[in-house]
């Protein structure tokens, strides 16, 4: 599909811009552009649930990233260090070439082997009663993943609060009285 390939090429260009540009705010904005292009790709690939969630989550990531860089717009003083640059390029080219040589093992793009999801589509309405098969898979067939995912959200919320709390250790005199 040409439109899809054009979108992914646009994402690659935006990714290069996001990584290479010096000014922080414009690199964060180009990350936002990648996320929104990804939401369009999901729409093209017939995944409307994901387009909605990706779009909305992308806005939240953008807000959080801008929040982190807003008041500290320091220029990235990048001195080009040769060795890691070359090592990175070599590793990435080997990784892509190896991937390319191997990818013909996967079924061709657009002809997925749907062994399990064939069952999902056939029995979703009868077994779970929900018309949205994706919601049926997430909340009825594989509901343990959703349970773990909400616990991850709880862990991350408590984690963010621990990282961002003002003082972590009691004052010395408090410890003496407390630890008698």
């Amino acid at each position: 599909m040409i439109t899809l390939q054009v979108l992914i090429v646009f994402m690659i260009i935006a990714a290069v811009v996001a990584v290479e540009i010096q000014d922080l705010l414009s690199s964060v904005v180009s990350v936002g552009a990648i996320g929104l292009a990804l939401s369009l790709c999901f729409l093209l690939l017939k995944a409307p649930d994901l387009a909605v969630v990706q779009l909305v989550v992308e806005i939240l990531v953008l807000i959080i990233l801008i929040r982190a860089t807003m008041s500290r717009d320091t220029k990235g003083s990048e001195r080009m260090r040769l060795f890691p640059y070359v090592a990175g390029i070599v590793f990435i080219s080997v990784f892509t070439f190896y991937g390319y040589a191997v990818l013909n093992g996967i079924p061709e793009f657009g002809h997925p082997v749907m062994k399990v999801s064939g069952q999902y589509i056939k029995h979703a309405l009868v077994q779970t009663g929900s018309a949205n098969v994706v919601m049926a898979v997430m909340l009825d067939y594989r509901v343990f993943d959703t349970l773990c995912r909400i616990t991850i959200l709880l862990t991350a919320a408590v984690g963010v609060l621990t990282v961002l709390r003002r003082e972590s250790r009691k004052k010395q005199e408090e410890v003496k009285t407390d630890g008698k």
Partner: protein, 155 residues
């Protein structure tokens, strides 16, 4: 004299135009979020998208009206306890399957109802609502944590 009261209204949050637009659009965004969650098992969205949308609506209010609308009545620990209640509700909903005769842990034991009606897919609708509640509380906690950190540094 004249500009004193104008000055007072300007202190917190963004300009007046942003505030009025935010005040008008927040109701619609909240309704859209709840609608996505309620009809999750019929058309797109579901508890997850709805939760994030509602969290974004609250963040819109937070950003446009400044931090003080939340500080005294609602802080991130109250939001965290809402999240914990949401996860607890989801756990209880999942463990209902255990009390059925030969049920398993995450079993969908409610009746499946009319295929395309609103009350139609057993446990999926209530779990969508609980995820909506937990998701928005969780994301709000994360955002309040990030925003309030700046306030402490300021004081």
């Amino acid at each position: 004299m004249g500009n004193d009261n104008r000055q007072v209204t300007e202190i917190r949050g963004m300009s007046l135009v942003v505030k009025t637009v935010a005040r008008i659009s927040v109701g619609m965004i909240l309704m859209f979020g709840v609608f996505t969650a309620f009809y999750g098992h019929i058309n797109t969205g579901g508890g997850f998208a709805g939760g994030v949308i509602i969290a974004l609506a609250m963040i819109l209010m937070l950003v446009s009206y400044g931090r003080d609308i939340f500080t005294n009545r609602f802080d991130e620990y109250k939001a965290l306890s809402f999240l914990a209640l949401g996860v607890l509700g989801f756990l209880v909903l999942m463990s209902l399957g255990l009390f059925v005769k030969d049920g398993y842990f995450c079993m969908n034991i409610f009746d499946k109802g009319k295929p395309f009606g609103l009350i139609s897919s057993g446990v999926i609708l209530p779990s969508n609502l609980i995820v909506l509640f937990a998701e928005s509380a969780g994301l709000l906690t994360i955002f309040l944590g990030l925003v309030y950190f700046k306030v402490w540094k300021g004081k």
